[in-house]
């Protein structure tokens, strides 16, 4: 299924940081929404600011408009404030994008576990995110850092326990 761009994407002023405060608020909200949907659609979990600048999201070649680096950082700051983004370095060149929060991922994973009657089973992280059994699940392909956070969220809920095994980490579900 191809990505559906919102109407703002074809509206040239969308790529100019608006001087009017109220309009800017709407604009930033729309940018946050667009960035998250785009990442969700393409299953992107990390973003590099330099690369993002050239990606179709922030650089709309068809209408010859692009969001400036400053504006991109402002959008990212909004996402950070909302809990959807985390900087990986102090210089703000790379970040983690959480279009789904760890708790939400945890819930999905646990649903799959219950549905398949797999309580009390132990999984390696690899099996869970990359195994054949989970191929059709949304959390398939989930990157390690996010997977661990999701499992930790479940752990807080008493629904799982992250364990260390010989060759890595694993998890037991209750």
């Amino acid at each position: 299924m191809s990505f559906e761009w919102p109407w703002q994407y074809n509206f040239p002023p969308f790529f100019t940081l608006q001087p009017n405060v109220d309009t800017r608020q709407k604009q930033l909200a729309a940018w946050c929404s667009l960035a998250l949907s785009y990442c969700r659609h393409h299953k992107l979990y990390t973003l590099d600011v330099m690369e993002a600048q050239e990606s179709p999201v922030f650089n709309h070649k068809n209408i010859d408009r692009k969001l400036s680096t400053d504006a991109i950082l402002i959008v990212f700051e909004e996402l950070r404030k909302k809990g959807n983004l985390e900087w990986l370095d102090k210089n703000k060149t790379r970040c983690l994008v959480m279009w789904r929060r760890p708790e939400e991922w945890g819930k999905l994973i646990y649903q799959w576990v219950s549905k398949n009657g797999m309580a009390n089973t132990v999984f390696t992280l690899y099996e869970l995110a990359n195994g054949d059994d989970t191929e059709s699940e949304e959390f398939h392909g989930l990157e390690d850092w996010m997977l661990i956070r999701s499992l930790q969220a479940l752990q807080m809920d008493g629904k799982a326990e992250v364990i260390t095994m010989d060759d890595g980490k694993g998890v037991k579900f209750f």
């Binding site: 509206f11 040239p12 969308f14 100019t16 608006q18 109220d22 709407k26 604009q27 909200a29 010859d64």
Partner: protein, 258 residues
Amino acid sequence: MHRRGVGAGAIAKKKLAEAKYKERGTVLAEDQIVQMSKQLETFKSNLEEFASKHKQEIRKSSQFRVQFQDMCATIGVDPLASGKGFWSEMLGVGDFYYELGVQIIEVCLALKHRNGGLITLDELHHRVLKGRGKFAQDVSQDDLVRAIKKLKVMGNGFGMIPVGGSYLVQSVPAELNMDHTVVLQLAEKKGYVSVSEIRESLKWERERACHVLDHLLKEGLAWLDSQASGEPQYWLPALFSELTSRDVTPEEANQITP
């Protein structure tokens, strides 16, 4: 000593004559009144018959409504003049426009965060029809214009600005004077306008043009595009044609403040 016309007798006679004339006048007036009530009764029952026959048509056909309105105008009747009027109660015309008015307000509110409270009559028409569904009654642009005029009278902050052969419907009480209106009309062609275009077409000074554009930005009716080649452009979401078919997304819906 026996002159006629003078004296108590004459006065009394005169008085009697007057009284008789008055009585006659009263009788005449009574006659007329009886006649008139009979006519009115006939008129009323004809009207009731007309109403029941055509009530459906009034609700269904926009063409019929236009003709009906024209006919009313000819005899000096405004079916929408008051909600509880004889005509509107009789024919349900008032109901129709009242409901339409409510629909118009709903559409404008839903899109206000996008276009700042300015929408083309075309887009309004398109969305009202969409909202009514496949089996609902036909609604023409003439209907919309009448309903909006009613809303205007009720003081809902509604107004209509003539642009390019049609109208822009304003649903927020943003203060738009002649200068603003003229710039909107200029912007209608391409959906955006620049300072030079305003100066060229309207022969204004730079300051006047900038003042108007700043106001439109402030009212949320225009967005700034500073990446246009040459000079900044001011775009109006209300005139952005790509917008017409796009639904309000759930995210946008969350931003709506009544």
